[in-house]
Symmetry: C2
Subunit: 190 residues, 2 copies
DNA sequence: ACCGTAGTACTACAGATGGAGTGGTGTCAA
DNA sequence: TTGACACCACTCCATCTGTAGTACTACGGT
């Protein structure tokens, strides 16, 4: 029988994210999720019909957890709308993502797994397209400098910057990363 | 006994790259390499002392195979040194990487695996740092427009663009990708 | 206060897969 | 003849899935 305990279901999905980051996509098994969540063996089996469901639900959940909280958004809407503000927003973005390292690594694992699972690919494509569009829309409405293309280019650069930082931190140092964020904004924005 | 047949060893490393792309890091096993290379079970065990060695050797090999060939380099050194040339170089870069999809996907798998294997992390850090430096050096010496930071920013943007293209091709379409390459160059270069 | 029922938590087991490591045999060439 | 190698076989071990079954808990009805 499929279990309905929503708190436990959420805890299992969060555990799945941790497992993805720590063990990779192929390590995402019912057993591993059980262990990570600290619940008895067999529990995840009772909550998810298949591994595929584990992947798609993790993919749906990660984006919720990577979003800025209300306070961060509110702060970003105050003050001058200049390039310096965008620099600070981007630094905040990179730091926020880095603070949820397992989530971002899990997202990369899911992207790679999406090349093998059509259903997961559909979920991620939908989420990420919406995220990019939301960022563009937010940026344009807020009166910050830069057009849609600027936002997309910043999206590209910031994403890979985070990849570098999280996977091979010694390629660029911390200082260099901050500097690259600043330079990216200053050169990409008109 | 450790085997010395270099041709076969190379074939096994190349097979390892294919396995990484197709099965993920955790799927990189001696058995899987044997199967991919079409050699009898147990062969990879005779050539590599451990899975770790398989990872590091794959990491070392991928970058050789992602480099442009001599002809491409020669062509890039002829003609005018303007932004349009850089646009074409970047499009060539993105297409060349996309043409070796398993290699790039394997590299992503290796980056993720590097968060768990210090030895692999050291190898990749070394290779990638050298690659970035080489690109910067090449760019500056060739008289193309743009400074070191420009090259680094293009590196960031192009890498994630390839990630998008290879993992979730429907987020941006093909045309959009070309357009983003062009826009990246035009905005990042002075 | 009692009891039945539904939904869960937890345990256990059956069945199956797949991989690591190693030893041995046959082959070929110097 | 000797050394290196291709190929094959076998043992041991770790792990996963799927499901059945038991124990617990809360809650509504009486």
């Amino acid at each position: 029988m499929v279990r309905q305990n929503l708190a436990r279901r959420a805890a299992l999905v969060d555990a799945a994210i941790e497992v993805l980051a720590a063990e990779g996509a192929r390590g995402l098994t019912f057993r591993a999720v059980d262990a990570q969540a600290g619940v008895p063996t067999g529990t995840a089996s009772n909550y998810f019909a298949s591994r595929d469901e584990l992947f798609t639900q993790a993919g749906g959940r990660i984006y919720e957890r990577l979003q800025p909280d209300a306070q961060t958004i509110a702060e970003s809407l105050s003050g001058p709308r200049d390039r310096e503000r965008v620099v600070r927003l981007m630094i905040e973005l990179v730091d926020r993502i880095s603070a949820f390292t397992p989530g971002y690594l899990a997202l990369l694992e899911l992207r790679l797994e999406a090349t093998r699972r059509p259903e997961l690919r559909a979920v991620l494509t939908e989420r990420i397209r919406a995220d990019v569009e939301a960022n563009v829309g937010y940026h344009l409405e807020s009166g910050l400098p830069g057009d849609a293309t600027s936002v997309e280019l910043l999206y590209l650069a910031m994403n890979w910057l985070v990849v570098e930082r999280l996977t091979l931190p010694d390629v660029f140092g911390e200082d260099k990363i901050r500097e690259l964020v600043r330079q990216a904004v200053e050169r990409i924005l008109p």
